[in-house]
Symmetry: D2
Subunit: 339 residues, 4 copies
Amino acid sequence: MIIVLKPGIVRKQETTILNEIRKRGYTPHVMRGVARIVIGAIGDELTHQSLETLAMAFPEIVESVTPVQKRYKLVSREGHPQDSTIDVRGNIIGGKKFQVMAGPCSVETEDQLLRTADAVRAAGATILRGGAFKPRTSPYEFQGLGQKGLKLLAKARRQTGLAIITELLSENHAEMVAEYADILQIGARNAQNFQLLIAAAKTGKPVLLKRGLSMKIEEWLLAGEYVLAHENPNLMFCERGIRTFETYTRNTLDLAAIPIIKNESHCPIVIDPSQGAGRADLVKSLCKGAVSMGADALLIEVHPNPAEAWSDGAQQVSIENFGQLMQELRPLIAAAGRE
Amino acid sequence: MIIVLKPGIVRKQETTILNEIRKRGYTPHVMRGVARIVIGAIGDELTHQSLETLAMAFPEIVESVTPVQKRYKLVSREGHPQDSTIDVRGNIIGGKKFQVMAGPCSVETEDQLLRTADAVRAAGATILRGGAFKPRTSPYEFQGLGQKGLKLLAKARRQTGLAIITELLSENHAEMVAEYADILQIGARNAQNFQLLIAAAKTGKPVLLKRGLSMKIEEWLLAGEYVLAHENPNLMFCERGIRTFETYTRNTLDLAAIPIIKNESHCPIVIDPSQGAGRADLVKSLCKGAVSMGADALLIEVHPNPAEAWSDGAQQVSIENFGQLMQELRPLIAAAGRE
Amino acid sequence: MIIVLKPGIVRKQETTILNEIRKRGYTPHVMRGVARIVIGAIGDELTHQSLETLAMAFPEIVESVTPVQKRYKLVSREGHPQDSTIDVRGNIIGGKKFQVMAGPCSVETEDQLLRTADAVRAAGATILRGGAFKPRTSPYEFQGLGQKGLKLLAKARRQTGLAIITELLSENHAEMVAEYADILQIGARNAQNFQLLIAAAKTGKPVLLKRGLSMKIEEWLLAGEYVLAHENPNLMFCERGIRTFETYTRNTLDLAAIPIIKNESHCPIVIDPSQGAGRADLVKSLCKGAVSMGADALLIEVHPNPAEAWSDGAQQVSIENFGQLMQELRPLIAAAGRE
Amino acid sequence: MIIVLKPGIVRKQETTILNEIRKRGYTPHVMRGVARIVIGAIGDELTHQSLETLAMAFPEIVESVTPVQKRYKLVSREGHPQDSTIDVRGNIIGGKKFQVMAGPCSVETEDQLLRTADAVRAAGATILRGGAFKPRTSPYEFQGLGQKGLKLLAKARRQTGLAIITELLSENHAEMVAEYADILQIGARNAQNFQLLIAAAKTGKPVLLKRGLSMKIEEWLLAGEYVLAHENPNLMFCERGIRTFETYTRNTLDLAAIPIIKNESHCPIVIDPSQGAGRADLVKSLCKGAVSMGADALLIEVHPNPAEAWSDGAQQVSIENFGQLMQELRPLIAAAGRE
């Protein structure tokens, strides 16, 4: 930790702070600068108590306290330089092959799901998405089919061979959802619901962790740390747009998250352009950007008839448009060195 | 719903949209404006399917679709013009008397809790806060004492007569926490964890719902609607700062939420200046603003020794400062017409 | 305009509003809905007075007032369906050929500028960027070489054939800067400095308008409208990142602005990844995304020795890295259908 | 400056960095921590070149570089512990007496202005606000009466004795506006238009600097530094709301700016609740908060007939409401220790 003292500090005040630092198990190291005294407190920040409270306890002496070490370990590329890969029924996420996860926002009916599953498989997707439990802003909106939806997803898997990703909403459902799903999705509104993250990790299934609406990169990495710290190595991050002042789009898709996650972590990074824009007409362009920037996979909402979708129709692309999108992505996937 | 068509629409396109509107159970009403055709779709928006998907299904015809009705009902002042009040062991929140909830961020030890409880009661607080289950950004930080912390809170209640507010973190703990607490707090990171809101509502205990870090007022009201819709009328909202670009403070406390919640809802509004600023040195000023603007209660972090707190020391005020703060608030509470 | 009345309005109140609407020159059109009365006010919103004040003048009657027409005209694709192109010394921006503008953040010395100019031309750039007048957050930072910098830019143009883009900071410099530059850049901090926009427009030179740090798409288009309304058709928009809560990057580059500007406007769109990230290590990835998503040009900061730059060294790429970047972009430019 | 090196650095790499630090005129001071090496670079950061570029120049060695000194001097309370006061025609801003500046958003007609001036003076305001030059988002909106508006303001001053505050929009108008006005207002959209700040400072008139829509506190202080650095000591800061994701209000008024500016600077702080909320119905509550939190003055938009205002009608309060507001503020002003 680096402790910066205010200008004009006398020796007695300095001694007070040095004692406090020693009391917490660090070795202080004093540097006398031109305008201020700076103290380096030497010790392992992950095992010792933080010194950040010194700034408030001694406001007339301490100007600022800054940690030096990164707070995340297991998700960090520092300790794990190679890219991690995740095997989902034979589809490798994070490897040479680019993966596409596609399907409806919500599972609505057998016909809707199976038609979509057939279509997205034909177009090249390898993983089927579909919500059985839906977090809805209003209690009066459609909340998902629940276990019935999970069963339809399993049926679609048997019929098409696609792997299944679906959202986990409640700790109490973790085992049930894990029974049907190949990947558990943690939604943006639950990205810091740590109890849910732990429950998901404990199922042993791969976890896709969406970025929260106002989550900093560091907080996202730390939320992912909860999964790895509970002995589940199969974590992937999913950028789905952050909340900003802009109202033209529902969220602002932060595509810079792709190279940033690649810098900081060994875990795969997935992009969700459907939530990211909230508008189907922007999905194609955002997919192209994501592929070229090195994303490992896409998560796209596809519906046979978006205008009649039971949830989020405005951001689901039609089956026809999805097929065309996949065609247009092929040369970019190749240019990005993927298959 | 109001549907605005693009300029230069021909009759056949208009007919398509009129049919779609009728198909969804609304009666269309056409207005031919100077630059565009506008259609009013008459029907109850809370019971009919949304028309918002028309804009995406017919992008070459429809420019925008805007709902007319508000999406929340039970929390709304429209249907419940009088202020609601909540009785917490004889302390009325939302009434004539201004309430102060105070105590440590985390319950740490019996001594720490009881000393704080005695002190805040002596200074005029009526409700004791203290976290037994703590949501921490990092898995390596102190996560709370759990049930042991709840037992200490109950002991502090017996000894001081203060009511207890504490955070509920997990659906699985709802009954246990409700056994000890007088108010269940839902934290900012769980403000759209709807399963947790439902679990809290079902305990029958009063619920304090913190605003999420990037929650719009409308979303906050709708999250509150989950509590009332599950037959728990004892809901209070708590503003604790939103996330913005500013880094001087940890969050930006949106004090305008006080008159806004008073306009839109009958439920009480509580202000948390400790989380709101993340700095103990701003707490006093923010409390003064909150009182003068009509808040019903304050939620303040107080610690006997903030520099040694096990969590969030930087935002906890000392017992001495809390006493002085309460003194300084008295004339403002009187000026605001409260006791 | 669409005026929504509150529930429970009586006939006399309705009449009051109808009269106010007529007084302002609109023809009211009443729709009686299930929950509320909605009034369409028919008339040209661009030439009549706004009705938005009715909501405040009659708060007990009017719930909301929503305009129907878009507020921008000249920049809009609606009235100008073909893409506009801008000819800058024979380099066409917005056409088939993808353009790269590159050069140092600030013009520092003749040697620095000419070395950079030679290098970026060799790598394929066609336009040289370089600031002679620099807007600096602190008055104690380097403010640019002024006219001396402009002269060096002109010299670099003579020597390399590259066209010149440089920032205009002050109305008083408009003529002087226009004398040397081929494109006038309006920086993010001046994006709503309308006097400066008008002064730039009047020079007749092409104008590159950066998006303000917290500018909504609509406001950006309206700021561009100031340029076209002052009879300068040669406007291009430049996305350079918006301000959000994220601190890992200096700004959040909103790449969705590319398809959005293409939807809404006929003017070219340029991406500035250097300002967008504030970190040279993310520039390459952001450039790839921008090219694939359909940007018309890139604006990249390049410096012969970033570590010794007089301004913003952290976001400038070295000459070597720029050359490599240009190599890696070629297949993506081809895949995007550009040359 | 504090330079943190990456883990696993070898001696040769360390030496490289030490040499770079010395080359820039700092004395390096090495601390070997548990996980990393930290170097303190001793030297005056305001006169030496920044070391922040080292992180980019040596990305494989340097993890982060953090400045230690504050970047502002003249506005800082550190070097000027007493509160500054500004005398505006005998009205002291920043002293014992609380000041209210009130008047219309735009000067529209002689009758409108004089009626408002008489009314706000009668209610207790001492300074008249009114825009003669208006920055409007759209080029098609009313841009102000210009010099004719300034003359009306001067007439209102002669008739009522109120001092005048009005916005300066263009460097070219600085002398003209200063001839009529007692305080020059720099609007939010020009808060980092440094040329305009310098022009305003040079007139010698007091300057009211509004906070930019997405301006951090530090940037705001640095913009103020431009005024003081150009030898004009009469600077006041004005918080008028920042841009956030919330759409219920036009901006989010950051009332914490009051204690923060009081902590960091000696200059007075003024609150503008009209812009801050964009809704007249919230103005009263925000004024109460501002007074209680220690603001030195308020800047309030008042119009004889808000529904017919030529600009921003929705946020202007009526003369009647203003009178009542001033009555309700009196006890709070007294409770805050002001007159």
